[in-house]
Symmetry: C2
Subunit: 366 residues, 2 copies
């Protein structure tokens, strides 16, 4: 199953609103075929594994192999015909499943169908890893809002602006992981200040032959972003107030960017980012089939999203340096303590990655 | 050698100005005896190991065993007779050494003596671990100032004051490590604000049968510390300005505390802690045979010591929580970036310990 999880990741960036899925076929302790869902509309992982085995082994061997698949097979014809009846028709006898389908309409359906057809089915194997693989799909399919990951690159004392002599806070190993996230996620959000100060490209830079670039979403209530910014192109969405200058809107549209207008939230103060409604933004992104988004900062954006309890998971990259109070902090004042759960720590050379799910406590901070 | 390092740690808190040392005697791949330096004035590790072997094995076997010792043996008679000639007299044939003696007068002296006497000597084995064991001794013996460890207990965004509903920021596993440090180190330093706000005991709380409590050093220019504070007793040193109230000084002396008066540093602003001279404080502590000190905060004290480039190593305990800008930061404005080197990361349940040596860069921060 661990190998199936690894395989599933190869689809990162290409499955759109589908989940990442990997499959492995094992006969007498030997892997005889593998498959993963490689692109939206393409064949599913379990089908690819079984088909690949059938090309190389007698049908009898394939039928007596055990199919490991990270996600419960589908039961409906979609872009491709349903996998569940197809597996039964192929005469597969045993299926080991990681996660059940998070779609409430599908949850457990395939497991029951396979069992009724006489197959031996085990589910919940390596479930933590398999669930992690589909966390974005799960959020989107159940809430129609994207999964939100807060990516913070900071010093060990929580500062996100580098000292003058330094270009990046994070080291190359950490930056590599950031680009892996951008490959995997549909979109990213930054505030206008980040564009103005750093003029980043916000693209995926990895030595892969299939690069997937995230949609760049820039929060900019008054459209202050310079038109010459590197990030502005046809994969950019400018999020602004309805009342922002029509002339500026037209100028961005001419550069190929999309404009997403938000009403000003009447509740006011908590929403630092130009008082725009972040829940509304996430609903709008979900409606556009964006299943996942990385929040890349800066402090205004992090504070707004945290105070809206809108970040699902944090990836905090820490450089082993102390900058002190003159550098920009990761957040401003928060309404509530954020606790991280299921914390994982990785050492990336001399940088540290701490990741965990965000849990918003009901205690006020002071 | 790894086992010798473990053994050496058992002496933590009891060897005073001596280094921690462990020794293991190995005969044909089997450990036949072990020893460590258990208390100031007591026998040295290598002597204890060899003597213990001689009580149980024929002399011939002991002589043909290999002696592993974390630190180069001594060459001078001190509280105990010198180990080097004694080992030669016992007929030991092979010695494996971790660190050479950091005392410039002794460095390499025993290695040369043993070799001249015909013993086979290897040094520098597991040297990183062995050097780490004697880092306090090394600093004190070469500079006559204590080794300074900055212990920070903070949220992941660098805040050291807990939200109201919480007593401790760190979890029990992290607190256990703090008490291990207190067992190992001669003294600790806190600022008056920590005493006033938290009224801590500052003792070592471990389930050991030999507890060693650090000397409590309280930085308090005007002696504002309440006399009823839990930390005030005969193991406390109050550090104040020469000009502090004579009446207050007398009151603390009556409680058993010691008074250490410092002149006000004329250079002024950088030294937040009542403008007292921290280099002078460290020299004074070294003169009192204090080889090691833990800086336990708060923000004033950390900032002062960092801006004086006076912290040698950091232990940063992080709780997986984000508190935001309303809580007290770990430091105020710093003159320079602190880089941590030889970074080690440990996960302590859901807390994270990051430790490393402090390197003060020559770049200014902004």
């Amino acid at each position: 199953m661990r190998q199936a999880v690894q395989l599933a990741r190869r689809g990162a960036g290409w499955v759109k609103t589908n989940p990442l899925v990997g499959a492995v076929l094992v006969y007498r302790g030997q892997i005889i075929a593998t498959g993963y869902h490689a692109r939206f509309g393409g064949p599913h992982a379990e089908r690819r594994a079984v088909q690949s085995a059938l090309q190389r082994y007698p049908k009898r061997i394939v039928q007596h192999a055990t199919l490991y698949v990270t996600l419960e097979p589908c039961t409906h014809d979609g872009k491709t015909p349903a996998c569940t009846p197809w597996l039964i028709a192929q005469g597969i006898k045993e299926v080991i499943i990681g996660s059940r389908d998070p779609n409430p309409l599908e949850h457990g359906r395939s497991v029951r169908w396979l069992r009724r057809a006489g197959l031996q089915v085990t589910s919940g194997v390596a479930q933590t890893d398999c669930d992690y693989l589909i966390r974005c799909y799960q959020k989107w399919i159940t809430t129609k809002m994207p999964f939100v990951l807060g990516k913070v690159g900071m010093s060990i004392d929580g500062k996100i602006s580098a000292p003058k002599h330094q270009r990046y806070i994070s080291n190359p190993a950490a930056l590599y992981r950031v680009h892996q996230l951008r490959q995997e996620f549909d979109s990213l959000i930054v505030g206008v200040n980040t564009i103005v100060h750093d003029n980043p490209r916000l693209t995926t830079r990895l030595s892969l032959h299939r690069l997937s670039h995230p949609i760049k979403i820039i929060l900019d209530s008054y459209l202050r972003t310079p038109l010459s910014s590197q990030a502005i192109d046809e994969h950019t969405v400018m999020v602004c107030r309805e009342t922002a200058s029509r002339q500026r809107k037209t100028a961005f549209i001419k550069k190929g960017a999309d404009i997403l207008e938000l009403p000003v939230d009447p509740t006011g103060g908590r929403l630092l980012t130009g008082y725009m409604d972040m829940q509304r933004l996430l609903q709008e992104l979900g409606r556009r089939n964006i299943t996942s988004v990385i929040i890349e900062g800066g402090a205004n954006v992090f504070t707004t999203f945290i105070n809206n309890q809108a970040i699902d998971e944090f990836y905090i990259f820490m450089a082993p340096a102390i900058y002190g109070a003159t550098r920009l902090p990761f957040t401003y004042a928060l309404d509530q303590v954020v606790q991280l759960t299921s914390v994982q720590v990785e050492q990336l050379d001399d940088n540290i990655l701490v990741r965990g799910y965000a849990h918003y406590s009901s205690y006020s901070i002071s």
